[in-house]
């Protein structure tokens, strides 16, 4: 259906190729959070890997900082329709976290858990093979609190609500359990290239 009088503003050819359907490019870095930004103290910060309720491994901030570090550059896509190109993140890949813990994933799913009680579900296959990291630096500087610092999950091939801010742990689950937004109208998986924004989008 054509909208009368709407011409639109086309992205460049390069931008168009990098934009998933329904997205537009932004040059700033919008902040979207469901409540107040929690105060997370590095002195008490901990990152815990769990199988259900059972802790498998736990790192303090200094221990976590000592893990192997990886830099990732690329585009991120928010379900609110902005995409940001060429972002640069540094952190510890989920592969390296699992290796440091000496665990192989006991289940196929997990919930990323945050300090503000937010959580979001991601299949383990989407987190391994270099596809995801726990990021502590953005554009060469420590990750700002409003963008999820000190540490956030980064799963850039999924809509950005999956990249949980203020991360405190990953918890393996026996099945694919819906997280915060997944229980409130948003898609269980969230592939931007298939435009899986809302519950049961194909």
């Amino acid at each position: 259906m054509t909208t009368r009088g709407f011409a639109g503003r086309r992205p460049t050819r390069d931008a168009a190729a990098r934009l998933p359907p329904g997205q537009y490019e932004t040059h700033d870095f919008p902040v979207l959070s469901l409540g107040p930004t929690p105060a997370v103290d590095l002195a008490t910060w901990a990152f815990t890997l769990r199988d259900g309720p059972r802790p498998l491994a736990r790192w303090s901030w200094s221990e976590f900082e000592a893990l192997p570090r990886t830099t990732w550059r690329g585009d991120i896509h928010c379900v609110t329709k902005w995409s940001k190109f060429g972002t640069e993140w540094e952190g510890v890949t989920v592969d390296d976290v699992f290796a440091a813990a000496g665990v192989s994933p006991p289940t196929s799913y997990l919930l990323a858990q945050s300090y503000d009680d937010y959580d979001t579900n991601v299949p383990v296959t989407d987190l391994v093979g270099g596809r995801a990291m726990i990021a502590t630096r953005f554009a060469g500087a420590p990750l700002a609190a409003e963008h999820g610092g000190p540490a956030r999950l980064l799963v850039p091939h999924l809509y950005f609500w999956k990249s949980a801010k203020w991360l405190r742990g990953l918890r393996f689950t026996a099945r694919d359990e819906a997280g915060f937004w997944e229980l409130r109208g948003y898609h269980l998986y969230g592939d931007p290239w298939r435009e899986q924004r809302y519950t049961n989008d194909p």
């Binding site: 259906m1 054509t2 909208t3 009368r4 009088g5 709407f6 011409a7 639109g8 503003r9 086309r10 329904g22 537009y24 932004t26 700033d28 919008p30 902040v31 979207l32 959070s33 469901l34 409540g35 107040p36 930004t37 929690p38 609110t80 329709k81 902005w82 503000d116 009680d117 409003e146 819906a178 915060f180 937004w181 997944e182 229980l183 409130r184 109208g185 269980l188 809302y198 519950t199 049961n200 989008d201 194909p202």
Partner: protein, 248 residues
Amino acid sequence: MTPAAAAPLRWHHARVTAVAARTPRVVSVFLDHAVERHDAGQHLDVRLTAPDGYQAQRSYSIASAPGVHPLELAIERLADGEVSAYFHDVAQAGDSIEVRGPIGGHFIWRPEDGGPLLLVAGGSGVAPLMAMLRLRAVAARDLPALLVYSARTWDEVIFRDELLEMEMRDPALRIVVATTRGAPVRSGDLGRRVDGEALAAVLAVWGHAPRHAYVCGANAFVEAMTQALVRQGMLPARIRAERYGGVA
């Protein structure tokens, strides 16, 4: 709220019934919509299509109360805005657009959630809070409610006349307008930016401890207000935020 039980949200045609100027930078777009009844605070996705098939999508908060026809979106003209410019310069009654929704299961208020209810708006962030106030006016009139609304000037207070009339007729509703570029107009209003101290002072005068707070506006404003409410002792889980990135 079981995801598996819900049907996917489809795009629907919606007819524009009117476009009305609210302030120099905001129009209300009224839609004869075909979407499910919304909860106060939810938003709608809008999709426009150019003759060559190019499409643009944006999300807008719904300002009308649940169940009220036509449905109202308050749309601010953004610098370099692609979709907001269409609504300001082109759209008129009789046009048809596509909509999908309603969307969002967190920044919502229902009468049974109760109060006292604190609403804090920055600029066009008042839109979803207006849906809550309009709902409260018909469904929970005695519930103490306070709207703290920061706008640049008195003339940029969206829904101003309706808000003032609502407050006049309703002893349980208090409205404080803060104008960042102009003197306060009414006693109790503020002629400056609301910071944490000012918000604390306004809450002290109001005299209620909010059970729920909804804060909507540009990120810096929302960040300042939500942090101030945490310092006031509100549980973070009772403070719901919606942040506008300020993009086109």
